[in-house]
Symmetry: C2
Subunit: 479 residues, 2 copies
């Protein structure tokens, strides 16, 4: 069974790569104002291509930060409407001397395209845009209604995304979000992400005296801030890896036996996983490594410091100590409630004579889960199976994906990530690359998915479109 | 009862201050080679003064570092011989902008002489040298034999002092050491130091993985180096302040009831002590604050760090953590044995999967105690009482005084500190000053002490002159 659109895309492969290279040449680094021209150039390229492809209402949406590129095609009355999301900004190229070819001069070596942003997210975004263009070129229409949203601030923490979605909520009316961002868990496994952990953060500062004291003149008779901080931080976990904060696991949704079986069935090279990082397995007893990463919450010390940390030694009894903590949260957990439990634990474990400051970040995001029977999820699984010839497994992301959470929180829409970059492609590092084979897999999956979605009845999505936050949760997005 | 030497010193007060000022003008900073000329200049001044006063064999002793100034007067056959110790080097003057008058331009304000090194140790050394000169000027002789040793490396940790004492052990043959260095515990209490704590140090490095890991992709399933370090450091103490290392207190010499009573009888404003540092009392149960400072050992974390310690937050699962530790040791404790106990504790508390490196410093010094019936101690107490009109209390120093320890270890001699600087005189800080009243108290006490010593029979010292280290101790000096 040949698909005319897919055939068109296959024949156009060299041009697709050529256009991707042109986009990569625009140095659209969002975090550094020295690249403002590169940002402008990338928007200009996208604008003109969207116009050429037949999209309408091409414009720039903006809420105080870098504008997002918007375009729409709404010529499929009765069919559902999707926001197709991607981002045109890229990470800074530093350190420049580590690149084997210049970051903004795309170079193909061994079927990989090298350049800043090729994998995150210009390659995956291009797959989506090229597929949509091919439909319009070959068939003069898309199977569904589409609103394209290409963000310009993803690499700087999507700081104005929430404001932007709220400001343009009418423009962005849709049934669900198809994201071309994110990354496949592994290159050797067909998978679809169904959830990500949330997060929150906290900073601790502790004081035991007015100034650092000489350990000879005071040591042994006064509190040492580092002793106190060590004891406080050590109190956060049991030695077996469980979080020791009272109430920490209270609201965690436990998996049912079926879900646990599905996770256990996922092919996973556990020894290889630990070998690659030269680390050893350690975590909450009673859960597998994948469960610990995907469905169990964490409380991690990301940094701690105090006293003399220079060369040699200094006989000081330090008066201050500091620590930075973050959590990863799972479905059921409210970032604010978790923060309160943590603060209560710390205060209860802080002895008199120790002044403890707890800065709980106002932000923090709850975990995100695609509803199990969401029509876009079902369609994505069918498309991947049909295009790649393998039933995708449902995986989760241990990290936090602000987009899904913010979109759900502001527009009430669920998101499916259909990215064809892979976690090993050195995005955010020198020599970022994108497998050219991802273009073939990607366009095949996107063509199939759009056809499947075109056959769905629009009413299917209505029950899922809710801004549903667990009761009592006042949540905020974060960088 | 008038003492002709003391009268001479009183009449010569302005000149004494003038000569001290001249010495302070020589910027003898030992740690910075930019001040090499200042070091030379100070030595030149001392040399010519010692010659003028009538000392003999004036020379520079040197064992690889800055030379010490040596001079002797051995014209009292049958009387004991003392090394009179001081140092001519000073701390660097930085930060210069904090000084109210230039550090090397001595300035008198409100009966205090301001300048770098006035209190540590040019003022106290001058008191000793002026007293000796006055004896030679007025009486043509000293009551005892004297070998003057003015070190040039005290502020850089006396790194070659041990080698120097060993190299010149014949030149330095004596009965005991009278040090013009150190500081009075308080200006309002006549006291004599009879002991100081020893010390040792150790650095810890801990590794849990080959590199820092993303807390989303790995958090919850691998060890976090900061969790491990916190637990390890927290295991070192019980919550009541006791050191939790097995065997830590094994060899500590307990005080008898009489000694405890004497310490308890020392006037000590305990609330004021803690108020001044804005700290609270905390330490080993069953001991008073002064006992905790003087006769109980400590184990202190001086610095710890790991992970992300910059601005904002970084969701990292750190793979390394570090800590710096030092001890204060009391009589009976062997630095090497304490180090082994500490290492054994750390290894026993380090879980599998955590790579722990323990760098035990080869150095470390045992505590030092003047024998209770040492003739120089008895003489010093008599001199202080006679000169100041108050019976001095025997106090200890919570810190470590390498000189006493090294001299005992190499030459077998005990040391009494007779310094008239005071702990509050901002040595090692901007605006170092020296109370001019200390000159009056100082010369009075030194004159009395030399007269008392001149009446002692030399055989008195013989039983105390031993290089006595507790069995099994192989100790080293340290910076």
């Amino acid at each position: 069974m040949t698909d005319a659109v897919l055939t068109h895309l296959k024949n156009d492969r060299d041009n697709i790569i050529g256009r991707l290279k042109e986009l990569v040449r625009a140095p659209s680094v969002s975090t550094d104002s020295a690249y403002a021209e590169g940002m402008k150039e990338a928007r200009k390229i996208l604008n003109s291509r969207l116009k050429l492809s037949g999209f309408e209402n091409i414009s720039e949406l903006e809420a105080g930060g870098h504008p997002a590129v918007y375009a729409e095609w709404l010529g499929a009355p009765g069919a559902p409407t999707f926001i197709v999301y991607g981002h045109y900004d890229v990470q800074p190229p530093d350190p420049l001397d580590k690149w084997h070819s210049p970051p903004f001069e795309p170079d193909i070596r061994e079927n990989r395209l090298y350049g800043r942003g090729v994998s995150d997210d210009k390659g995956p975004s291009s797959i989506a845009l090229e597929t949509l263009s091919a439909f319009l070129a070959v068939e003069g229409r898309l199977p569904v209604n589409v609103r394209i949203l290409l963000e310009g601030e993803e690499e700087t923490g999507s700081v104005t995304l929430r404001a932007l979605l709220e400001k343009y909520s009418d423009t962005l009316a849709a049934d669900a979000v198809l994201s071309a961002d994110g990354a496949r868990w592994r290159a050797d496994l067909a998978s679809v992400n169904v959830g990500s952990r949330g997060n929150s953060r906290c900073e601790l500062a502790l004081r035991t005296a007015g100034k650092d004291l000489h350990s000879g003149r005071f040591g042994g008779a006064v509190r040492n801030a580092l002793h106190e901080m060590s004891a406080l931080l050590a109190s956060l976990h049991h030695s077996d890896g469980r979080v020791a904060v009272a109430g920490y696991y209270d609201d965690v949704e436990e998996l049912d036996a079926g879900e646990r079986q599905r996770i256990a069935a996922i092919p996973f090279d556990e020894p290889g996983f630990f070998e690659a990082i030269k680390g050893t397995s350690h975590g909450e007893p009673g859960y597998s490594t994948l469960e610990r990463l995907w469905v169990r919450p964490t409380l991690e010390i990301n940094g701690m410091w105090g006293g003399y940390i220079g060369e040699g030694s200094k006989t000081v009894t330090p008066c201050e100590a500091f620590a930075k903590l973050t959590t990863r949260l799972v479905p059921g957990q409210d970032p604010a409630k978790v923060g309160s439990a943590l603060a209560a634990h710390l205060r209860a474990h802080c002895p008199t004579g120790v002044e403890l400051s707890i800065a709980l970040d106002r932000g923090g995001s709850a975990a995100y889960m695609v509803p199990k029977a969401h029509p876009l999820l079902i369609a994505a699984e069918m498309a991947i199976e049909s295009a790649l010839g393998a039933v995708p497994v449902r995986v989760r992301v241990g990290g936090s994906l602000p987009l899904s959470y913010i979109v759900k929180d502001t527009l009430g829409l669920d998101t499916i990530m259909l990215s064809f970059s892979t976690a090993d492609e050195d995005f955010h590092a020198p020599n970022e690359f994108f497998r050219l084979s991802a273009i073939d897999d990607g366009v095949a999956a996107w063509v199939r998915l759009l056809r499947i979605l075109g056959e769905q009845t629009p009413g299917l999505y209505t029950p899922f479109k809710t801004i549903s936050k667990p009761e009592g949760i006042k949540s905020h997005d974060r960088a």
